[in-house]
């Protein structure tokens, strides 16, 4: 028979035990000291599946205190099912406040988007990362990619970008455009759209990247130069959404979601749910907008 005393009566504050939190904290500090470099860490198991945000949770739970205001978004939306789940877990474990309002948040955990609204020095953005190794697509083996980073040997990824251009006329197809951090390490910004990448450079907030399954943390401190990889004559460009307006607010100049109606016709809506809510009720919050070069 299972008696009650076999089960722990309470859970650690912020779920993770203090010993493990110290290890995560030490590694996070080292990540800040070496911008763009992936620091290996213990990555303890969580009650949430690998690949579903354990790395983001490790960072958030090692940071959070009862005075924090936490926002969680997935693909730009606070109300997405996985965001709801993570937010409820963090709130229950840390006894902190939660919000949908980007400006109110002190800690933001996000999957695959940077909020449209500019973040300040009072804020930390934690991004969930499925594959932290930016070179994994060109080199399967961890031992080799580690050596490539050590020697700043990024030839293979430059070749991939050039080949993409030759095939398609654009530098990349998809999210997660590789970035050069502080002029030394090439890193992944996580699978955010190119639209979001310019936010990372010379920012006021701290960016932390957590890959739980792969067990790596990397960081971009504030006021750090971050350049998307591009050629002198083939430049980095963000998504254009030409001729597109949000069907709810009538606005443009934000990353858009495409929605299909029952009759298969297409409408567009601003992806960042809190940004959209703010546009509906007040002035446009400050953004860092990027103009595509010719």
């Amino acid at each position: 028979m299972i008696e009650n005393k076999k089960y722990q009566k309470s859970v650690n504050y912020a779920y993770i035990d203090e010993f493990t939190k110290k290890e995560i904290r030490r590694k996070t500090l080292k990540a800040i000291c070496i911008p763009g470099y992936q620091v290996p860490y213990s990555s303890p198991e969580m009650p949430i599946s690998r690949g579903w945000g354990t790395g983001g949770l490790h960072l958030t739970l090692s940071l959070v205190g009862p005075d924090d205001v936490v926002k969680v978004i997935d693909q730009g939306s606070d109300a997405s099912v996985n965001a709801c789940n993570l937010r409820a877990f963090i709130r229950a474990m840390a006894n902190c406040a939660v919000t949908f309002d980007t400006a109110q948040a002190t800690l933001i955990q996000s999957r695959h988007r940077v909020p449209e609204e500019i973040l300040t020095e009072k804020q930390i953005l934690v991004l969930q990362v499925p594959q932290p190794e930016v070179l994994r697509g060109v080199e399967r083996h961890e031992a080799k990619t580690r050596a490539m980073h050590a020697e700043a040997d990024y030839a293979k990824i430059w070749v991939t970008l050039y080949e993409a251009y030759v095939r398609s006329g654009t530098l990349r197809t998809g999210a997660g455009h590789p970035i050069l951090v502080n002029g030394r390490y090439v890193a992944t910004p996580s699978p955010i759209p190119s639209w979001d990448v310019p936010n990372l450079s010379m920012a006021r907030c701290i960016y932390l990247f957590g890959a739980g399954r792969e067990k790596r943390i990397h960081a971009i401190p504030p006021f750090t130069p971050v350049k998307p990889l591009e050629f002198e004559d083939i430049r980095f460009k963000v998504e254009e959404f030409l001729g597109v307006k949000c069907s709810v607010t009538g606005e443009a100049k934000a990353f858009m979601d495409q929605l299909y109606k029952d009759d298969f016709s297409r409408t567009w809506v601003i992806n960042d749910s809190n940004f959209l809510d703010k546009l509906r009720s007040g002035p446009r919050p400050a953004q860092k907008l990027f103009t595509n070069p010719e």
């Binding site: 028979m1 299972i2 722990q8 779920y15 035990d17 290890e23 290996p40 213990s42 303890p44 198991e45 969580m46 009650p47 599946s49 690998r50 690949g51 579903w52 354990t54 693909q75 730009g76 939306s77 109300a79 997405s80 099912v81 996985n82 965001a83 709801c84 789940n85 409820a88 695959h112 988007r113 499925p130 399967r140 083996h141 961890e142 031992a143 580690r146 398609s168 006329g169 654009t170 990349r172 197809t173 998809g174 999210a175 699978p191 955010i192 759209p193 399954r213 067990k215 790596r216 460009k237 998504e239 254009e240 959404f241 069907s247 858009m256 979601d257 495409q258 109606k261 409408t267 809506v269």
Partner: protein
Amino acid sequence: MGYVAVKGGQDAIEFANKLVDYFRWKGRTRPIELEQARTQMRLAVDRAMGEGALYAPELAALALLQVEGDSFEAAFHLRAYRATLERRYEAELIDTREMFVYRRISSTFRDIPGGQILGPTRDYSFRLLNPALVSQTLGSIEKFLDEIRNEIDPAKLHEVRTYKKVVDIFLKEGLMATGARPGEDRRVFDVTREAIKFPVPRSAVLQMLARSETGALMCMAYSTMRGFGESHGTVGELRVGEVPVRVKDKRGRIRCIGRIRVSEAEMVGGSGRGRRAGADANRNGKQAAQPRYSIGYGLCFGHNETKAICMGMVESALRSPNPDNPANNQEFVLYHTEVIESYGFTNHLKLPHYVTFQAGLENGRREVRVKEEQAKREAVGAGAQGAGND
């Protein structure tokens, strides 16, 4: 339709959880008792403990019941629980020569010191479905247990003893390749405390294989038998039984804290792979003709022979790195047999990916635009040329 407020995510989760319970209970069958699961689904419990990396039969039984028998989810629950526990002690080294053996066989020799003990195994049964199982009653079970008890000869019980290892034969005859390779990392590593870096030390390889998903490990081992690896070894010894676990208390005294059931396989590898055998021979000053065997080692929680055997085969394969064979590639094996990571990541595809997809779509559209503009420019250029030639 227009814009639909994407609220109600929280409600959706609550209803999803209710529906899971509904699907469990709508048949209105009697709840399964924990002890029933623990004793009558013994092998599922043992597998969950091994993959969950936590020796706790009752909790493993609870996990299996809670997740309706899904082996991935059961292991997941145990791992998550394990991660919350305090680490108070490190066990003293366990010597499986102390094992109270249920089962012990060797394929390498026909007969071995102490004898072959078949023990509880289905290996030689017929895989026929047996409906009689459902008509067992507590009464018929008691009768069956009484029959077994009556077959035990109390006079022979004192003969039950621990068994020496088959591997001792190799050691005694000087047939074992012994000693670490130069520069081999002999540290005891804990993968739950430190992220692995390649090449991984042997202790970390063994730890990860002991926690690996049984099916994935089986896939790796099987591949070595079908040409994606060097020839497989034989079962030097397979043991299943209970071993005592001891720790050192604060005053330095060694205390026994209980017994755990484990499966252990010592796979005898091919005799000396050319250079290494020769090198070993030269080092020991013996004639080069003496064959040397190496052991691929497998050990896991509970009664899980497949895992122990496959672990021994794969551990052996990993000691000869070869990028052409998946099973000879440390990164391939260790990353892809890790049950929680592979389960999580393959299933994570169910999460929304529409922004990533959208970004790709936009790029694709730009690609088309660029090509159209290029084609237009070329057409104009050709037209202008044509005009010039007139």
